[in-house]
Each structure stands twice: as C-alpha cells, then as structure tokens.
Symmetry: C2
Subunit: 466 residues, 2 copies
C-alpha cells in the first residue's frame, strides 16, 4: 500500500479563505494605501479561566502547516471578486504566499497569561491575513490540552482515556481533542480516525445498545467475550450494576475454564464510588482481582478528584464531554495583537493599544524562564527580544521566510515535553482550584517602553478625557 | 471555471472511521455471533440545558451525506487489521455500505426533549457503526442553531452577525457554526470560507491592529475609507471611543464632500449602552443620522437583552465566542438509543433500557404536533409509528435503503422553516429564562408498552434488588 493511500485525506488542506472577512478588507486597504512594510504580531492569552493556573500550549504543528500552504485559488479569487474586491488587489492575492518569520514556544510548554506564544514578523498584509486561523487553532488545542492535563493530574496515575467524540464540536474538534489530550497525558482515545491519523492508542468497550440487543444481559456478555475472549470490558449498568457485576463474574469464571481472562467491567452511571466498591467485592470474592473496573459518565477533574477521595475502586477513567468541550470554560481569551510596525524611516517601531480596560505589551518580545538548580520553575520574565535576561528563552524560531526551520517533534516527543514541563512546575500551581498565580514579571526595559508609549498616546490620541 | 474547481474541497469526505472504537468492537461481535438482523435506533436529546426551552434541530444534511458515503478504504482496513480485528470481519467491512431507512425531522424544526429527531432502521451492524458521527453532527449544529435563535430573538429585529470564528472549536465548527446560526436567523458571518461554501452573506469591519498600524488613528480611518468610501465601518475604541467617534464624524464629513457616505462605527469594549448613546449624539449633531452603530465584544442573548432594555443606540450586533461555542452550555445531552430489535421469530420487537435513573422510550415512534386553527403549536405527542394520532407528524422519510429520498432544502429554505416554526411557537416558550415547559405527552399505547416492558425487565433482569 502506498503511503499516499494511507494518509490520503490527511493532507493539509488549503485553508487560506478560513479567515474573518475583516482581515481581507484590512488587507485590501493596506494594499490600496501601499502599506507593505513588515510588522510584528504576538499571539497570547489575556487571562486564565477560573480554576486554571497555567496553559499547556498546543496547536503549533497545524499553524505551521497552514502557513506553508497559503495560496488563493481561482475559486477563492472568483468569490472575492463577487464580494467587490478590486482586480489589482486580487492580482496581488493570486501571487501571495506567507514569507514571514515565526517564533513560538514548543507544543507541550507550560505558559501563562500575556506571554507571547507565537510571534509573527511579516509584511503586514500576510501577518494580518493569518490572524483568524492562528487564533482558532491555538484556542482549541491549548484549551483542551490544558483541561486534559488537569484531568490526568486529578487521576493520580490512573489511566485516563478521551471518550468525548460524540459531543466535541464537529469533525476537526474530534480529531484535535484526541491529539491535544494525548499530548496532555491521556493514554488514548475512542476516536478511531484519530488513532489512524496520529497513531494514538484507541480504546473502547461496549454500549448499552449491545446489551439491549440481546434478550438477556448475560447472553450479550457471553457473545461479546466470545469475540474478544481476552480483552472484553463488559458494561454492567444497563439494568442494575450489582446484578450486572454478578453476571460478569460468572462470565469471567467461564472464560477461566477456557484459559482466558475477562479484561474488565465498566460503570457508566449511578453512584460510582459506592458501586465500584460493591463491584470490586463481588469480583474479589470470586478470585477475580485481575478484572479491572473502568468508570465513565459525566467525569471531569473535579469528579475524579472526589471519587479518589471517596476511595472509589476504579482502575481507569473514560472522560468525555466535559473534557472534550472544556465545558466549564469552553474558550480561551486568546488574542493576536500588533506590537511593532515599520516607521516612516523604515525602522521597526514598537507600538501598543491603550483603551480604558486593556493594554497590550509593545515591541518584539521573548519570555525567559528562571529555574532553580533542579530545574524547577521559579518565575518568568517577559522582556524585549534584544535584551539579555536570566533564565531560558521559551520562544524559538520555527519559520524563516515562510519555510519551516523547526524539526517538528512527534506526538510522543510532545507528550514528553509536557511531562517534563508539568514535572518542573511546582505542585502549588497544579491545584484544581485556588492555585496561587505563578510569578510573571516584565523586564525593566519593557516597563520603560510601556511608560514612554503610554504618555505619547495620551498626548497624541486621547484628546477627549472622559 | 469548472464547478469542480469551485467546490473542490467541499466534497463530502469519507468519514467512515470517524467513530468510537466500541462501535467497531460491537460490530465485530455482532458479526461473530451472526447477528445481522435489522434494528431501530432513535437519536434524541434527553433534557434541555438551563435557560433553554426548545431545540432548533440542525445537522441533517451532513448526516445524510455521511451515510451515503460510508465505505471502509484499504487504509482503514489495514489499520483495523493492526488493531487485531479478524480477517473475516474485515472482509465483511470491505463490502459494507449503509443500506438502512432513515426518518428525521427537517432542519429548522423546533423540537423538545425525548422526541426522536432521527430514526434509523438498518441491519444492526450498520445502525451501530454510525452512532458517533450522527451524535457529533447533531450535537454541534442543533446546539448552535438553538443558541443563535435565542440571540436573534433577544435582538428584537436588529441585525445579528456571527463573529465567533476565532474561538469556535476548530475548522469544522467554524464552518458549521456559520451555517447553523444563519439557519437560526443571523444575517451573516465573518467566516469567508463559509460565505463561499454556503453562500451566506459575509461581514467585517476593521481590527484594532489596523488602527495601530498608523501613527495616528485618523490616518487609519482615512486610509480605510479611501478603499471603501461607501461602506466603511470604523472601529473607534482603540484609544478612546469618544475621541474616536469625533474623528469618525470628521471622516464622514470629508466623505460627504466627495459624494460618499460612511457606513458605520463599531464599538468593541467598554460600557456599550452608555457609550452608544454618546456616540449617537456626536454623530447626530453632525447630521450623520445615517451612520450606523455596530457593537461587538462579549455579547450573547442576555447581554443584548440588557443593552436594549438600557435603550442602547445600537443598530447591529456582532456576536462571537459565546454564541459560537454555546458558552453557557457547550453540549447537548444528545443520545442514540436502540428501541427495537428483531426477535427470535424474525419480527420487530420494541425494547427499552431501564437503569436506576434513566429510561428510554421503546418501539418505532413518531411525534405528532397539535396546532390551533391559526397553526400555533399547542402540544406534542410521542406515539408509536403505527398509531393514528391527532396533529401533524414531525418525522418524514429522508432515506430508503441507503439512498436519500428527500429533496434537501436550500439553506434559505431551512431559514424559512425556522422562521415559520419560531413564529408558531407561543411567545411564553421563547423567553430567555424561566420559560414554562412546552407540553410533550406520550400516547396511551406508548405508555402501555412502557409498563409492559418495565414489568418484564424487572422479572427477567433485575435479580438483585438494591
């Protein structure tokens, strides 16, 4: 079989038109006003959602694939013409490719609010056009990686499998949630297509419908374990979990006689802590200590934490909707802001936005992470890129003149980066709620620049004092 | 230009492997146990999320496209072989197509909890395999259509544009949110690719970065309105909204001298109610009553309702993240349950699940909607499909033996179905919160069937009484 056939529909699609309309109107106006100079944009997250205390950055690989494939097709241009864009601009777009430089933190890096995660320096039309795709991609994947890392943390070493495909937001989310939660430490996914595309381990048991399709529950168990004699996990709560557990134990003994072993039982409803203890007892009484108890149903990091505090006898968790949609906070305040333009003399010039409630950090920046002698994270400093600061720089160059210059890590390697980052993040920042804020400071040079630009803007732009 | 080029990457992809692993293990066991008889599954939503009082059904077109394209490729089969599935089962999958019958309510229909939205009758392996895709598709699109219909309702006839692309969950969500919110009554989207694919009107203004890329705000306004002299919407809150409004007024007067008209101004932050009044006054004082005020930034149905109650001078709303992620409830309790199998005598036999907290409705069903003489909805009755009930049946046949038998409506037609449905839904069920429950009853025959099956299950399966 050709690789091509195998990976056929995973080829990076042309997503050039996957953008907000205003990116194109702005580009048209830049073009019309002969504004082609380079500018720098930062992608960052303004604030932590409630209960979160860090972000786990993900989505870079898709961003770079997108940037390498930017090209307006004839169909795109025909559509834009109908929207009223001028011919000269469309001719320009026909030739447009992304030619900029990109710096970014590696996927799997623990980051904090206001830290630049991706920094783009490119002719302003190119840098503007890509805003929407970058935000969309980083929002989803970083949100899910962050959420999933909390679920894995709560499970205290017990296995977590991503089970949310049916309620994740569409096809792309289904794929990216599997990827992001695997990066974050989940052991696998129920999504078979993600298993094929990303080579993530896939897991699954049986549904209530399987049990119901037989006139007796035990017949369903027997039929399933005939097909998978050594790896069946039987769903025991279709009618009554305790009766179900007793039937599963009977099946396990039948399998033993044939030299096989039942894999596990699954609970998907009810009082999981209490029921799991009863089920464990039923299984142990029959000498079935090896049969695992798998739990699912409305789980998230808070619920898993409670279950383990209640000493639930659960060996592995299937976590779905609440992780796969980041249900308690289904978006991040991820933004993409201009921080540097080219001035009249052709030099790069730092700039900032100053409205009443929001300021942005001006200039081309780097983030430095200070660690103790054991590598434990102590604090971060956001500085200007030309400064020399203590600590390790987080942003690395990943693209130069539109070409990827970064050796993209495999998914397993990203998983290791995550493990390493979370291992070095002190425990107090990993609490499920009320974690203290990790210290992120601004360098003195950056603080000075903000002061200078603020007073300049106050004089030049804020004529009306409310 | 060939149509092919235009629609190139919108061709329905083969999503056969976009399924939970357990669908395949169950199918393998059905195959192994020679269980090929037809069965019926219902797709329905168990309960209303808080504040919702109805669902607006969407997603059927994608479901039908998926079903028509089911086919395991060589790549799929090679992957499944590596997962340990047996050759005889894989040979069976290689030939598998969807050959079932499907009934569904049309997109744009107002529906309620427990009402079957899609009913599938097919050989059990086919009917089981498709569960995940159907749930994923209906969950996203119905959730968003429902949410967007509330936003449109709150806007009381003022225009609503979908602006959430950057924080929607990935590429597919970005496309489907545009489609679902257009169905629900939004006037357009910022998503250009959705504009091309679905022929939805696209809208956009300018971003803060455009303003910041000029050394003076007014220079940015002048440059933009040079490119779009008759349709510019100027973003006026980069530095200070009032100063921004005064500059916009100056630009509008300059445009008037050239025979043009400024389209509008946009506010994206701050106290929108108060600021919009001040901005309206500034514009009116200059005789610019025709310049529209457009508002965006953290809007949803609740916020729009407040703004209009505060008499905000806003002409149109750009609604993003909170609508595009259904942020206050980012999933629906959408489920797919077996309700009918084939019994030992080869006859269809209604079945149900009975665990402590959840029951399902047995048998092949239809929903009848009773209306008054003006067509206003009065109540729904869930009945067995062979019953004759009062009211109009909601489910129609959309697929027979795997072929679409339904004349798929255009997006504009679906939008009309929505309008008609929402018009006929009495006002009390459209409140943003605390709406009463719309009456949905079960027919007497269905009630009798539930009683019979319950007592049967209690005797046969619930051996252990907790």
């Amino acid at each position: 079989m050709r690789m091509n056939d195998f990976l056929g529909h995973f080829k990076q699609e042309n997503m050039t038109l996957f953008t907000d309309y205003y990116e194109l109107t702005m580009c048209a106006s830049y073009f019309d006003n002969e504004h082609f100079d380079p500018a720098t944009f930062d992608l960052f997250i303004r604030r932590l959602p409630e209960h979160r205390s860090y972000f786990l950055f993900a989505g870079l690989e898709d961003v770079l694939g997108y940037l390498e494939n930017i090209k307006f097709t004839r169909a795109h241009l025909a559509y834009l013409k109908k929207q009223g864009f001028r011919e000269d601009f469309l001719d320009y777009l026909a030739e447009l490719r992304f030619t900029g430089d990109v710096w970014a933190v590696p996927e799997g890096t623990v980051t904090f609010p206001n830290e630049p995660l991706i920094r783009v320096t490119a002719p302003i039309i190119e840098a503007q056009l890509i805003e929407t795709f970058l935000l969309n991609t980083v929002n989803l994947q970083t949100m899910i990686a962050t959420k999933a890392s909390r679920v894995v943390h709560a499970a205290k070493g017990k296995s977590v499998v991503e089970f949310g495909l049916r309620r994740e937001h569409g096809i792309d989310a289904g794929m990216k949630v599997a990827r992001s939660s695997y990066i974050a430490g989940c052991d696998g996914t129920s999504n078979v297509l993600a298993g094929l595309k990303y080579q993530i381990p896939v897991f699954g048991t049986m549904a209530h419908s399987f049990v119901m399709s037989y006139s007796k529950e035990i017949d369903a168990f027997r039929a399933f374990s005939k097909t998978f004699p050594n790896s069946s996990t039987l769903l025991i709560d279709t009618y009554n979990e305790i009766a179900g557990a007793e039937k599963a134990a009977k099946i396990a003994k039948e399998l033993e006689l044939k030299g096989f072993r039942l894999g596990g039982v699954r609970l998907d409803s009810g009082n999981l802590a209490q029921t799991s203890k009863q089920v464990r007892e039923i299984l142990n009484k029959e000498g079935l200590g090896y049969v695992k108890i798998f739990a699912s149903g409305d789980l998230d990091e808070y619920r898993i934490d409670e279950l383990l505090k209640d000493d639930a006898k659960i060996d592995a968790f299937g976590v779905g909707t609440k992780m796969g949609t980041s249900a308690d906070h289904p978006y991040l305040d991820v933004i993409y802001k201009l921080c540097e333009t080219t001035n009249d003399r052709g030099l790069f010039s730092p700039i900032m936005k100053l409205s009443q409630d929001k300021i942005t950090l001006p200039g081309r920046k780097q983030v430095y992470r200070s660690k103790d002698k054991d590598g434990v994270y102590q604090k971060d400093t956001i500085a200007l890129s030309e400064e020399v600061c203590k600590g390790d720089p987080l942003l690395i160059k990943v693209m130069e003149k539109g070409q990827i210059t970064y050796d993209l890590p495999s998914l397993k390697e990203i998983r290791c980066i995550t493990q390493d980052n979370l291992f070095k993040l002190p425990a107090q920042y990993k609490g499920l709620s009320n974690a203290p804020a990790y210290p992120v400071g601004l360098s003195l040079s950056l603080q000075d620049l903000i002061k200078t630009l603020t007073s300049q803007l106050m004089q030049e732009e804020i004529i009306y004092k409310p």
